[in-house]
């Protein structure tokens, strides 16, 4: 018996050890080319692997030719996993010189004052658009330059399907719903849902911010100060109701829970689906996979309930930030200056056709931009745009994508979802240590 027990405990402990051993990380080793001159300065640059690097690499090539500085890119995973890598590397002092990160609430989560170099005094910052500076600031200090053109959240649509069915771009939410009905009757998918990639389920709620701010101009400040809740602010609750309505009327593809982002893009490009509520960085993905379909894709802002109010919710691009503990701050600044110059923008655009206007003053776009970008520019020229809530307020609950999946698939109602999100937001605000929570 004693022997038997020993065998069993041996088995047990070896099984436990196997559990302990599971969990290894691999790090890509980047070899540094031996510099002949001996004085070449090397700066490192951490970017997520979801970002298209062609434009950035082209800028780096040109920059290296002009300066005796070498820029080396390191990649990291995107999404929340990547956020953790950034946080950990900042905390352990193992950060690269340059850091690519989202602007807005996801920058605030990194404690920018402690970790990044203040750029507000730099001459090249004068050309950056004010809205963008707001999204990369804390306590009056500005920390980053825009890394890509500006994005917008709205309804991407297939112009061919619109033409075929004789539809016009809707001015109100009701008109959009009427369009959806006609598309559904014609046997096509009216609204492409790709909730397998849960983040895509948030777009209808987030892209409604222009309309929310039209109704309540101070909503963002009140929301940050805990004076306004989503579930008790009719205009904000309306965003959740819109998502609920799309589900209830059955406008989405039947398998929206098992469909992913890439499949959604294909449906839109093929005209199998007419609308895809999405953020315009998708245009870059579309252009790579379906270059011949780009002429068919357009975008309109999520309509409000009134025909007079028509605008676009803008996503501020990711930024490039300088690590405060870097030993090459001057070289890094030089790189940023080149990056946001007209020359830098021209090099970037030659590799990646712009998917929106740049957040840099006085920089011109080429004439042959995609139709969807032309649609976007109209909203910029007329001034009918507003940043998404996450660029106006550091408050953004981490569970929004789960909650919008619930509302968008009928598990909970719009009101329940909004209440759940209010609780989620409260938790996050407390963790950030914001005043008034």
């Amino acid at each position: 018996m004693a022997k038997r027990k020993k065998i069993v405990s041996l088995l047990l402990s070896s099984a436990l050890m196997a559990g302990v051993l599971a969990g290894c990380t691999s790090k890509e080793e980047t070899s540094s080319g031996g510099s002949k001159s001996g004085v070449t300065e090397k700066i490192t640059f951490l970017i997520d692997n979801q970002t298209q690097l062609d434009g950035i690499e082209a800028i780096i090539d040109e920059f290296e030719k002009k300066n005796n500085i070498k820029v080396e890119i390191e990649t990291r995973p995107g999404g929340a996993e990547g956020d953790n890598i950034i946080k950990t590397r900042l905390a352990t002092g193992d950060m690269t010189d340059l850091v690519w990160n989202n602007s807005g609430s996801q920058l605030q989560a990194l404690n920018p004052e402690q970790n990044f170099v203040d750029l507000s005094k730099e001459p090249f910052m004068e050309n950056i658009m004010e809205d963008y500076k707001d999204a990369v600031s804390a306590n009056g200090k500005v920390f980053g330059v825009p890394g890509t053109p500006t994005n917008a959240g709205g309804w991407l649509y297939n112009k061919k399907v619109y033409e075929e069915l004789g539809l016009t771009v809707p001015k109100t939410w009701d008109e959009l719903m009427a369009n959806n009905e006609k598309i559904k009757q014609a046997g096509k998918t009216a609204v492409i849902g790709t909730f397998k990639d849960t983040w895509t389920s948030q777009v209808i709620v987030l892209a409604d911010n222009y309309n929310v701010l039209e109704e309540n101009p101070t909503f963002a400040e009140d929301f940050t100060a805990n004076k306004a809740k989503i579930s008790t602010t009719p205009a904000a609750l309306r965003s959740f109701e819109k998502l609920e309505e799309v589900f209830k009327k059955g406008y989405m593809n039947k398998e929206f829970l098992a469909t992913g982002y890439d499949a959604g893009l294909k449906m839109l490009a093929d005209g199998e689906g007419a609308h895809y509520p999405m953020i315009t960085f998708a245009l870059a993905n579309l252009a790579t996979t379906f270059p011949d379909k780009m002429q068919d894709i357009g975008i309109f802002g999520q309509p409000s309930d009134s025909a007079e109010k028509n605008g676009l919710t803008v996503w501020m691009p990711a930024g490039i930030f300088i690590n405060k503990n870097s030993e090459h701050i001057d070289a890094a600044k030089k790189f940023l200056e080149f990056y946001v110059s007209q020359e830098g923008v021209t090099i970037y655009s030659s590799k990646i056709p712009p998917t929106g206007p740049f957040a840099i003053k006085g920089v011109e776009l080429p004439d042959d931009v995609y139709p969807a970008v032309k649609d976007m520019i109209q909203y910029f020229d007329s001034g009918n745009n507003a940043p998404a809530l996450e660029f106006l307020s550091p408050v953004k609950g981490p569970s929004l994508e789960q909650i919008t999946t619930q509302v968008g698939s009928g598990i909970s109602s719009a009101k329940e979802g909004a209440e759940l999100y209010d609780k989620d937001v409260e938790k996050q605000a407390k963790q950030l240590g914001l005043e008034g929570w």
């Binding site: 989560a109 829970l257 999946t405």
Partner: protein, 288 residues
């Protein structure tokens, strides 16, 4: 003898092992108990008492998480015991191909959980997945395995059983093989049949193996995370959230103190369930 031992071995011999144990096991445990009571940003912390525990326990999705974790642990360990025992009996027989079948059964255990998760997610796609294609060939309309909130958790649990059954079977085989032949001979003398052999010899005498399987798979089920995260990420919505996935999402959001508190709660939960279970199972063990 005692004196000699005292002279020969000093406690300094314990030091290397002791240091490793302290630095890698004891210290992190103490630290996590401490940080679970702080507001923590990795570089900066503030003591806030039990606030994290209150926040964690009032988490809206936690009810679902507790329920799902228990269901998941019971379903996976239950099925592993039943199927593992049957396979164990079958594979400890003297079949010619027994070695081949044993390795077939054990094979899934060697695969990476992530790879298994991705493969099954594709196979469980409602229209393009091979499972539903086969079912529709048989004239059955297959469900949306991972999209239907009622069955999504069970779908993942079944994959977990498929993957873990090899380990359970091997433990059962080891248990059954170590039953001395004498018992079977005695049974033959008494004229017992195969059913008696199973009921009166194999079942009671493979008890230690069964207890090992129950304990291992139950604890494994309680703290299970990787498979659910690859297959559903706790979704749709929160419907397949387990305690471990709730903790992970809080960690992702940068709520380090809060997620550490969650881990302490999970630790208490696992201990509170596993120790009594272990004691109970041990009491029922019979001696050979």
């Amino acid at each position: 003898m005692n004196k000699l031992a005292n002279k020969t071995y000093t406690y300094y011999f314990l030091l290397p092992a002791g240091i490793v144990y302290f630095v890698f096991f004891l210290l992190p445990t103490i630290m996590s108990l401490f940080f679970s009571m702080t507001w923590w940003t990795l570089t900066d912390w503030k003591f806030i008492g039990f606030e994290n525990f209150v926040t964690f326990l009032t988490e809206p999705s936690l009810n679902i998480g507790f329920k799902n974790t228990l269901i998941y642990a019971v379903v996976t360990s239950g099925l592993k015991v039943i199927i593992g025992l049957l396979l164990g009996v079958f594979l400890s027989s003297k079949l010619k191909t027994v070695g081949f079948i044993r390795s077939m059964v054990f094979f899934p255990t060697l695969l990476s959980t992530i790879a298994v998760g991705i493969a099954f997610t594709m196979m469980m796609h409602p229209s393009q997945g091979i499972i539903n294609i086969v079912l529709s060939g048989l004239g059955i309309v297959g469900p949306d395995w991972l999209g239907d909130t009622k069955i999504a958790l069970l779908s993942v649990a079944l994959v977990d059983v498929w993957k873990g059954i090899g380990m359970a079977t091997v433990i059962f085989i080891a248990g059954i093989m170590s039953i001395p032949e004498d018992y079977y001979e005695a049974l033959m003398m008494d004229g017992g049949n195969a059913w008696h052999k199973f009921k009166s010899i194999i079942l009671p005498l493979s008890r230690p193996a069964m207890n090992t399987v129950i304990i291992l798979s139950f604890i494994g089920g309680l703290r299970s995370f990787d498979l659910i995260w690859t297959m559903t990420k706790g979704g749709p919505g929160f419907s397949t959230d387990l305690i471990a996935s709730i903790i992970y999402k809080q960690y992702q959001a940068g709520f380090f103190g809060l997620s550490t508190a969650g881990n302490v709660i999970l630790f208490i939960l696992v201990s509170a369930l596993a120790f009594p279970l272990y004691a109970y199972l041990n009491k029922k063990e019979v001696d050979l």
